[in-house]
């Protein structure tokens, strides 16, 4: 089971949108995952508990020096685009295995 955290600035709006879109995409791709959402500060300090972080492209810098090894960081341009999320999830998660 994949552990995924969706993150945004305040952990209120955007991260929840990402989470809902991820749930849909994962279901389509038959990936089993538990998905949470929070703010980037939180996500950074808890990164070692997760396999994947998904956030806006503008925030991926936060995770660059993360101590969590093997953490997959996915940056999104359009948080609402299932197409973009599907492409990136396929590339970074499915093809990486």
């Amino acid at each position: 089971m994949l552990k995924v955290i969706a993150a945004c600035g305040s952990g209120m709006g955007s991260s929840q949108i990402i989470k809902m879109k991820l749930e849909k995409v994962f279901k389509n791709l038959n990936i089993e995952a538990s998905i949470y959402h929070t703010n980037v500060g939180d996500a950074k300090s808890q990164a070692s508990n997760y396999d994947v972080v998904v956030c806006s492209e503008s925030l991926i810098g936060t995770f660059q020096n993360s101590s969590a090894k093997n953490l997959i960081v996915i940056g999104l341009k359009n948080l609402l685009s299932e197409k973009e999320i599907t492409e990136k999830v396929t590339e970074k998660i499915l093809n990486a295995k």
Binding site: C8, G9, S10, G11, M12, G13, S14, Q16, I17, M20, H37, T38, N39, V40, G41, K44, S56, E57, S58, L59, G61, T62, G75, L76, K77, N78, L79, L80, S81
Partner: protein, 490 residues
């Protein structure tokens, strides 16, 4: 019918006037209506109730932490003060509402009525010209809270049922009309990203989209700029709030002096260092804000999910209006930081202005309007007017936030509880609506609703053939625009 009275009294005493249980039951019933299993409904009920109770602890904490400082300012300078931030605003609105003996449960009813109004306006979009459904749950909670206090302030005699119905229609109209205004700017920025903004600065975004191209040159954008790396720490909410509050409360409490603080604040230990007292006091705000957000996240998550479901299911061809941060991926990261910096500059200058001109209220910058409004404006401004527009617009927006917020916190008396909503629309259009309601009463409310409803009609008239197309099929929209331009050339 006699036997019903005790049941009603029980219901009123234990549920209707207790917001936590009221919200819990709404979530519970919502789950059942969505035909989810009963155990999920129970889980939703618990999360909603606990989430609300967490929020309550934090709201009380925020207002309580502020109280000695407010008392000190009143005592020494006859000043009141407000942090302009939606969370402080929500806490101050709740305190104001409960202070006059009304129930805060109405907030949730207002939210549901307003959301329903938005759905109805979208369903009849052939006539109303509304293309967007507002689904940003936490913002809806904040706005319902502040707007509820505005109505209770302007109509103190109005019964609960009248308050929620009138405000539900007003707020629902605002959500529909304002988010509908952001369709063109958002679709152009995201090149057909398929969403509009449903947040706190929608009129602001529309204004920016109109003026940014005139202020600057989009060829000179800020992508080439190198910003200092330390600014990245402001990406973290707790850090940013801690720093902001330390600066502001550090200055205020230092001016009030240790002697006065000792007499009005019991939590200031006799042997405690003044510096560490200030640090503790300032960081307390970060503590309560974090708790508040945890509570809101908990009960709003349930709400947003069902709103999103509704938006997908019954409204094909309409656009969801979501959090403003969804646009950040389409702007350079520099734009976000730039907006924050110039917004801060504008706010600080305006605050100095308030002090110099001896305003009866002092404004303290809150993180959410400072960052999220101005960063959003900078993203749009940079795309349309380059670096010049991305600096000038957030700068003036910052000044407007302080001056408008100061007026609102003073006029609507939430300064007594230390907060005002503070986001751009709530420093401009909403104080105006409040003043119109206050002096125009029911006629004023009706006039505001009609004026709001006229906006999409005017928008539609200016470009009839592409008005719905830009929301439904962006590629086709571009084709039509291009063929039109070509036809004009010939």
């Amino acid at each position: 019918m006699e036997f019903l009275m005790p049941i009603w009294a029980f219901f009123q005493e234990n549920i209707l006037t207790k917001p936590q249980f009221f919200i819990g039951f709404i979530v519970f019933i919502g789950y059942l209506l969505l035909q989810r299993p009963i155990y999920e409904a129970v889980a939703g009920f618990i999360k909603a109730v606990v989430g609300y109770m967490i929020l309550n602890v934090a709201s009380g904490g925020l207002v309580g932490n502020f109280r000695p400082v407010l008392a000190g300012l009143k005592d020494r300078f006859d000043l009141s003060a407000a942090v302009i931030d939606p969370y402080f605003g929500q806490a101050a609105a709740q305190a104001s509402i409960e202070h006059v003996g009304r129930s805060f449960s109405m907030m949730m009813v207002v939210l549901l009525i307003a959301f329903t109004i938005n759905i109805v306006l979208v369903l009849f979009r052939r006539y109303t010209k509304i293309r967007t459904l507002f689904i940003t749950g936490h913002v809806m909670v904040q706005q319902s809270s502040t707007a509820l206090w505005l109505v209770i302030f302007c109509f103190p005699q109005l019964q609960d049922i009248g308050v929620v119905c009138m405000l539900g229609v007003l707020l629902g109209t605002y959500w529909s009309v304002a988010s509908n205004l952001t369709v063109e700017p958002c679709q152009k920025l995201t090149e057909g990203g398929g969403f509009a903004t449903g947040h706190q600065q929608m009129f602001g975004i529309w204004i920016v989209s109109k003026i940014a191209g005139k202020i600057g040159n989009k060829e000179k954008s800020l992508e080439t700029l190198k910003l200092p790396g330390f600014l990245a720490i402001f990406n973290e909410n707790v850090v940013a709030t801690g720093i902001l509050m330390f600066i502001f409360f550090g200055i205020i409490i230092t001016i009030l002096g240790p002697d006065l603080m000792h007499t009005i604040d019991k939590s200031f230990g006799a042997k405690q260092s003044f510096l560490f007292y200030i640090i503790e006091k300032s960081f307390n705000f970060a503590v309560y804000l974090t708790i508040l957000q945890l509570g809101v996240r908990m009960f709003v998550a349930e709400l947003t999910e069902s709103f999103q479901g509704i938006s997908n299911k019954i409204l094909p061809g309409s656009m969801p209006a979501v959090d403003c941060a969804a646009t950040y991926g389409f702007g350079h990261p520099n734009a976000v930081t730039f907006g924050f910096l110039f917004g801060a500059l504008g706010q600080f200058l305006a605050i100095i202005g308030l002090i110099v001109f001896q305003s009866p209220i002092l404004i303290i910058s809150g993180f959410v309007p400072l960052f999220f409004d101005n960063a959003t404006f900078a993203v749009f401004a940079n795309r349309l007017g380059g670096i010049r527009a991305a600096a000038i617009i957030p700068f003036f927006s910052g000044m407007i936030q302080v001056l408008g917020g100061g007026f609102a916190a003073y006029f609507f008396t939430t300064g007594n509880f230390g907060g005002w909503h503070g986001n751009f629309d709530w420093d401009t259009i909403w104080p105006a609506i409040g003043v119109i309601m206050n002096y125009g009463q029911y006629v004023g409310v009706a006039a505001v609703i009609l004026a709001l409803l006229a906006i999409p009609q005017l928008l539609y008239r200016s470009n009839k053939d592409t008005y719905f197309l830009i929301a439904e099929d962006y590629d086709k929209y571009l084709e039509v625009v291009e063929s039109k331009a070509a036809a004009q050339k010939n």
